[in-house]
Symmetry: C2
Subunit: 256 residues, 2 copies
């Protein structure tokens, strides 16, 4: 619950509007709104263990809570889970999520029409690469696998300089002659997410591919792009007190 | 929910004290008390599908809700589901139930110590026989299989006279000579539950076994015993208004 609250603060710091945003945590919201659980039960009646096994790869050794969980993930697609916002209206649902969450909502798209609700729609976001490159994994326990929102400017600089996988060539001569590979270069990948100026991004890509831009220079651009973004986020996050968070978590009508 | 409310009114009419009794319905209480759901999740983590299959005979074709349900049945054995009554104290739990509910609580007895709670204890009640006898089944859809708490005195009389399985002999002569069998005689079974006077019950048993008491006479005693009990219940139940029921269902401290 503590970690969920910290994550929610980061989400709010991104700029969500209190008047248009309700944030909830299953574990807590379940005990505050009977409709949520009642919709979960309706969904759980529509999915057999066989189906769940097919979708999620469950085995007989999995705990019964894990087996029932997909319905908890699915239920918020039904607008009647939030009667204080939507009344009993059946509202369309759009889910922004990463591809790993897709199976839950494929199941949900099967179930919704059987319960008289519209199918939810999804937007799949791409994953950030881990600093060590596309083939490695970001991990909270591997501190150098990612830039964290809590990192200082110095830490961002050190992490990118020391740990970000480079698409450059082993020697300066070879790099100047053959050019770097932006497709595997992690500093460049980060710029794709964070550099707003698309024309400049393209210039950087071309210069790097031709060998005009060196790996160290690419890293410097990435560092200088990320440092202010993270610093600004940290500044905004300071204003997200426990009280502000509790307002986002409170059951209320929205004014959108 | 409607049927649950009607059943709860019958339970209250039995004489439960508002100051010592909290009644809840899973479907509704879940949305009013986060601790209930949180305990369910803790239990669901402790039971695998394999175990649930072994205990309840689930198959792969069963819905995931049914598979997760035993934890919903088990959770109220943990006193922390009711913080408004028990605070965070770990209180012993006694469950009066019929034998068909036993598997749920055998599972619960396995799980409780793993969660740091005392094992619940059970008292198993016996089933009433169906009017058609021990080998048949009471059923709400078979109106003549049981005396209902809503039956009129006349209906009770008719049901017992026409439908109650008798342990008497086919002819008067044979009955007088060989006697009846109280062990299969449904009117006598009902008296075992409802006749408070044990000495008189024994007299009836002996007289019936010897053939001194006839089947029709046994039925008459059963009718005259049940009619006032059901009528008194109906009178008490009239006082159990929706408002009274809502008081029993409300989350509050008890004063016992």
């Amino acid at each position: 619950m503590k970690m969920a609250r910290e994550n929610a603060k980061d989400i709010i710091a991104m700029g969500f509007d209190l008047n248009k945003t309700f944030i909830f945590h299953d574990f807590d919201f379940m005990g505050k709104c009977p409709s949520f659980y009642q919709n979960i039960i309706r969904i759980q009646k529509c999915v057999t263990f066989n189906q769940a096994k097919g979708i999620f790869g469950f085995t007989d050794s999995d705990p019964i809570g894990k087996i029932g969980f997909p319905a908890v993930q699915a239920a918020p697609c039904l607008s009647t889970c939030f009667p204080f916002i939507f009344g009993d209206k059946k509202v369309n649902c759009l889910i922004p999520c990463a591809i790993d969450q897709d199976p839950y909502f494929r199941m949900t798209r099967d179930v919704c029409p059987r319960l008289g609700f519209p199918k939810p729609a999804l937007i799949h976001s791409t994953f950030f690469p881990a600093l060590q490159g596309a083939k490695s994994k970001m991990s909270a326990s591997e501190l150098n696998s990612a830039i964290f929102l809590t990192d200082t400017p110095k830490k961002i600089k050190d992490k990118i300089n020391k740990h970000a996988f480079s698409g450059g060539k082993p020697t300066l001569e070879e790099h100047r002659a053959k050019g770097g590979d932006p497709d595997i270069d992690v500093p460049f990948q980060l710029l794709q997410f964070f550099l707003e100026d698309d024309a400049r991004l393209e210039e950087i890509r071309v210069a790097y591919t031709k060998g005009e831009l060196l790996s160290g220079e690419m890293k410097k651009i990435a560092i200088e792009t990320l440092q202010p973004i993270v610093a600004e986020h940290q500044a905004r996050r300071k204003d997200v007190t426990d009280q502000v968070l509790d307002e986002f978590l409170s059951l209320r009508k929205l004014t959108c």
